[in-house]
Amino acid sequence: MSTIVKLPPQEGATLPRRSYLNDGYGLKSWLLTGDHKRIAILYLISITFFFFIGGAMAGLIRLELLTPQPDLVASDTYNKLFTMHGVIMIFLFLVPSVPAVIGNFVIPIMLGAKDLAFPKVNLLSWYLYVAGGIFTLSAMVLGGVDTGWTFTTPLSTHYLNTHVITAALGIFVAGFSSIFTGLNFIVTIHRMRAPGMTWFRLPLFVWSNYAASILMVLGTPVLAIAIVLVALERTIGIGVFDPARGGDPLLFQHLFWFYSHPAVYIMILPGMGVISEVISTFSRKRVFGYTAVAFSSVAIAVFGFFVWAHHMFIMGVSNYSALVFSLLTMLVAVPSAIKIFNWTATLYKGSITFETPMLYAFGFIGLFTIGGLTGVFLGSLGMDIHLTETYFIVAHFHFVMVGGMLMAYLAGVHFWWPKMTGRMYPESLSKLAAVVTFIGFNLTFFPQFVLGYLGMPRRYHAYPPEFQVLNVLSTAGATVLGVGYLLPMIYMTWSLKYGAIAGNNPWQATGLEWQTQSPPITSNFVETPIMDHEAYDYDWLANKTTHEVTTVG
C-alpha cells in the first residue's frame, strides 16, 4: 500500500542543531519556560500521568463488575473509584487534552506567530492545572471522595463525610487553568495571525479551538460558582440548595449542567479540529465545505449553552421547558451531522493513504456517529425517561468522549508527534494499536447500550445476575482497550531515541506548522511567514516543493 510519508534520507540525517528542545537545559529551563511548545510538553506529560491513574480506576471498576456480587472492594471504595475516575478523566484529562497539549503546541505555529499572546499566563495555566491535580490527588490519597463527578446536592453537602472540599477545590483551580487557556487562545487568534492569514484561511483546527475557548471562558465560571456554593453550603450551611432552609435542590443541577453540558463540547470540538486536519492531509484534499465546517463549530458552541436541562427531564422540570430543551438538543445534533458528512465527502476523489492518524480518524468518525445518534435517543423526551441514569448513558458518553475524543486526541498526538519531537513513531506497531483500541472499545461499550435498555443503573456496585454476561463482555473489552492504550505509551517513548528522523514535513501537509523545521526553533519561524493561499491548498504545496527542489538542485 502506498504511503504519503516522505522522510529525509536517514543515513546522515540528524535532528536540527537548534530547536526549542535544546534551547536551555535543566529542570528550571522547563519549569520557568514561557515557550508554548515546552508548556505543551509539560501538559503532555502531566495529562498522560492522570490518564493512566484514571484508567487504572476504570480497570478496577470493570474488574469489580465481573461478578454480580459486590466482592472485590467495599461499596464505599467502589463509589470512590468511579468518582475519581470521572473527576480525573473529565477535568484533568479530557478538558485539557487536545487544547492544552496539541492546541498549545500548534496553534501559534499554525497562525504564523512566535508564541501565544500571554506566554506567562500560559505557564500559569499549567501551574493551576498541576495545583488542581494535586488537590484532587490529595483528596484521593487522604481517603477519597464519593460524590460522583456530578457532586449532586444535598448528597455532597449534607450526607457525606469524605474529602469533598479538597476535591472541589481541585476542580475549581483546574477550572481557572482552562479559563486562562481559553482566553489566551481567543486573544492569540484575534491578534497574532501572520500577514495574509485571514479568518477563512485559518486551519479548521484553529476554528474549533476558538469555539471551544469561548465555551471555556463563558462556561467554566458557572462551574466555579456552583462549586463554591457547594463548599459554602457544606461548611457554613448557607442553605441555597437545602430544602429544609428554603433552598432549591434543583438549582445545583441547573448550575452544574450549565457548565457540564457545554463541557462536552469543550472536550469534543478541539477533537473535531484534529479530525479535519488529519482527513484533509491523508486524502490530499481541501476539507469539503470549509465554511460549513467552520461555522458548525461556532453553531455547536452557541447552541451548546441552551440545552443543559436535557439532563433533568425526569426531575420535574416543567413540561414546556422540557419541550424547549428537547428541541434545542435536536438542533445541536445537526451541526455534528454536517461535520460527519463533510469529512466523508472530503474523501471523495481524494488520494487516500492509511497512516495511523487516519486510522484513528476513521475510528472517530464511526464511533462518534454512533455516540451522536444515541444522543438523539436521550434528547427524545419519552425515550430519555427509560434510558437516563442507566448504562445507556454511560455507553453514550463513552462513545462520544472515548470513542470520539480520545481517538481524536490519539490521532492528533500521532499526527503532530514528528513535529513535536522530530522523530517518527513506529508505523506498523501504531497501526496495530489503533486497531486494537477500536476493537477493545466496541467490545467494552457496546454491551453497555444493551445493559442500559435492560435498565441496569449506572454507579451500581452490585447488579442482578442476569446482567452478568454483558458485563463480562464489557470487562473483557476493557482489557483489550487497556492494551491499546499502553502500546502508544511504550512505542512513543521508544521513538524519542530510536524513531526515524522526520524532517520538516513528513506528511506533506499544508499547515504553516509543517513549513518550519521539526522540532521547531523557540521562535517557531526564522522569519515571519506570509500566508498567500487558502488552507489545505495542496497545489500551493506541490508548487513550493518543486520550486525548492529546483533552487536547491
Binding site: 444535598p154 426531575m315 435536536m330 481524494g350 435517543f377 434528547g379 435492560l454 446482567f467
Partner: protein, 365 residues
C-alpha cells in the same frame, strides 16, 4: 466438548441461557417506548451504515494506489443543504414522537389509584391508602392505572421500573409523581437510579404485579393498623389543626373540606391548584402559600411531622368532604392518641418512648 468437565459445562449453559438482552414488556406504555426505541435504532443503523459505506467505499475507490492525484472540490451547497435538512427532519420526528411519549408517560389518567412512596438512604417505603406498608416492594394490580406520589426524606433518589419503562426522580422536599398500568403478572426489578451514597446499589426492590383478585386478597391480609387517612385524622387532631380548621364560619383558618383539586386564590395574587404538593407546602411553609382573606397566623410544622405523617394528613385532607367529624373531635375535648405513627419528636428521630409523654410529642399548642 467432551473434555470440558460437566460441572463447568452446566454452569456455562445456565449462564448463557439465563442472560437477558431485552427487558420484559409489562406495562401499557412499554410497547410505545419500545416502538420509538426501534425507530431510533433504525435511524442509528441507517446513519452508521451510510457513513461506513461511504468511508469504506471511498477508501477503496480513491486510495492512493488507484487514484494518485486528488481532484480538488470546493464544496457543494446543494449537497450540504441535503445533509443538513434530512438529519434535521429526522431529528424533528424524534423530537415530536419523544414529546408525545413523554406526556403520555407523565400525565396520569384521572382515575388512577394513588400510592405513596418515601425514599430514604437506602430503602423504599411504600404507603398504601388502606394503611398497608411495604419496604423495598410494591404490590400493584394488573390492568389498573396506578399513580405514585413520591418524596425523599434525604437526598435525591430515582424510582425506576425498567419493565414498565418508567422512572422519576424522587426529590427531597417536593412531591413528584409517576404512573403506570401493569399488563403482565410477575415480579420485576425496582432500582434506585440516582446515585445516593454508600448502598445506592442496594436500594432495590420488587415490583409485584398481581391479578386484581390476588391484589384484593393481598390488601386484606396486609393491613396493619389504621388507614393513611385515619392516621392523618388523628394527627390533625393531635397537632390542633382542627382548632383553626373547624369549618365554622368563625374559624381562624379556611375550611378544608372539599379543598382538594380546587383553585385557590393566594394572598400574593396568584392562583394555584390545591394538589398534594400544595397541601404539603401549606403545612410546612404556610407563610409562603398564604391564602387570600386570612391572617397569616398558621404556624409552620417543619421538623415536627415526618414525611409519612405528612402523607397521612395530606391523604386525610384529600378525602375530607365534611367537617362533621372535625367538630365532633373538637367537642370531645380529650382525644387520647392510641397510635403515634408519623409523629416524630422534634428533628432527632431518637427513641419513641411514647408511654410517659404527657401529650403527643411534637404537638404544637
Amino acid at each position: 466438548m467432551s473434555h470440558i468437565s460437566p460441572v463447568i459445562w452446566q454452569f456455562l449453559e445456565k449462564w448463557l441461557t439465563t442472560f437477558a438482552i431485552f427487558p420484559p414488556q409489562a406495562s401499557a406504555i412499554a410497547p410505545y417506548t419500545d416502538a420509538l426505541y426501534f425507530f431510533l435504532i433504525l435511524i442509528t443503523l441507517a446513519g452508521g451504515v451510510i457513513v461506513t459505506l461511504l468511508v469504506v467505499g471511498f477508501s477503496i475507490l480513491y486510495r492512493k494506489d488507484k487514484n494518485p492525484v486528488a481532484t480538488q472540490i470546493e464544496g457543494s451547497t446543494l449537497l450540504e443543504a441535503t445533509w443538513t435538512i434530512i438529519p434535521l427532519a429526522l431529528f424533528m420526528v424524534c423530537f415530536v414522537w419523544g414529546a408525545l411519549l413523554y406526556f403520555r408517560i407523565y400525565n396520569p389518567p384521572t382515575n388512577a389509584m394513588n400510592i405513596y412512596v418515601v425514599g430514604k438512604q437506602w430503602m423504599w417505603k411504600v404507603e398504601h391508602p388502606g394503611g398497608q406498608h411495604e419496604i423495598n416492594a410494591l404490590h400493584v394490580p394488573i390492568g389498573k392505572p396506578v399513580q405514585l406520589t413520591m418524596i425523599s426524606q434525604d437526598v435525591f433518589h430515582s424510582f425506576s421500573i425498567p419493565a414498565f419503562r418508567v422512572k422519576r426522580e424522587v426529590i427531597p422536599g417536593r412531591y413528584s409523581t409517576v404512573w403506570f398500568e401493569a399488563t403482565k403478572v410477575g415480579t420485576y426489578h425496582l432500582f434506585c437510579t440516582q446515585y445516593c451514597g454508600t448502598s445506592h446499589s442496594a436500594m432495590i426492590g420488587d415490583i409485584v404485579v398481581m391479578t386484581q383478585a390476588d391484589y384484593k386478597a393481598w390488601l386484606a391480609t396486609s393491613v396493619s393498623g389504621a388507614s393513611l387517612a385515619q392516621n392523618g385524622e388523628r394527627l390533625f387532631a393531635s397537632l390542633s389543626c382542627n382548632a383553626c380548621h373547624s369549618g365554622d364560619a368563625a374559624a381562624r383558618g379556611p375550611n378544608l373540606a372539599n379543598l382538594y383539586g380546587s383553585r385557590i386564590q393566594l394572598a400574593n395574587g396568584s392562583l394555584t391548584t390545591a394538589d398534594d404538593a400544595f397541601l404539603r407546602e401549606s403545612i410546612l411553609n404556610p407563610s409562603m402559600h398564604a391564602v387570600a382573606g386570612y391572617a397569616p397566623i398558621m404556624p409552620t410544622y417543619q421538623g415536627q411531622i415526618s414525611e409519612e405523617g405528612l402523607i397521612g394528613v395530606v391523604e386525610y385532607i384529600k378525602n375530607l368532604n365534611s367537617n362533621y367529624r372535625v367538630q365532633q373531635t373538637l367537642n370531645t375535648t380529650e382525644l387520647a392518641p392510641t397510635q403515634q405513627t408519623g409523629v416524630e419528636p422534634g428533628a432527632t428521630s431518637g427513641t419513641r418512648s411514647g408511654t410517659a409523654a404527657p401529650s403527643v410529642p411534637g404537638m404544637v399548642k
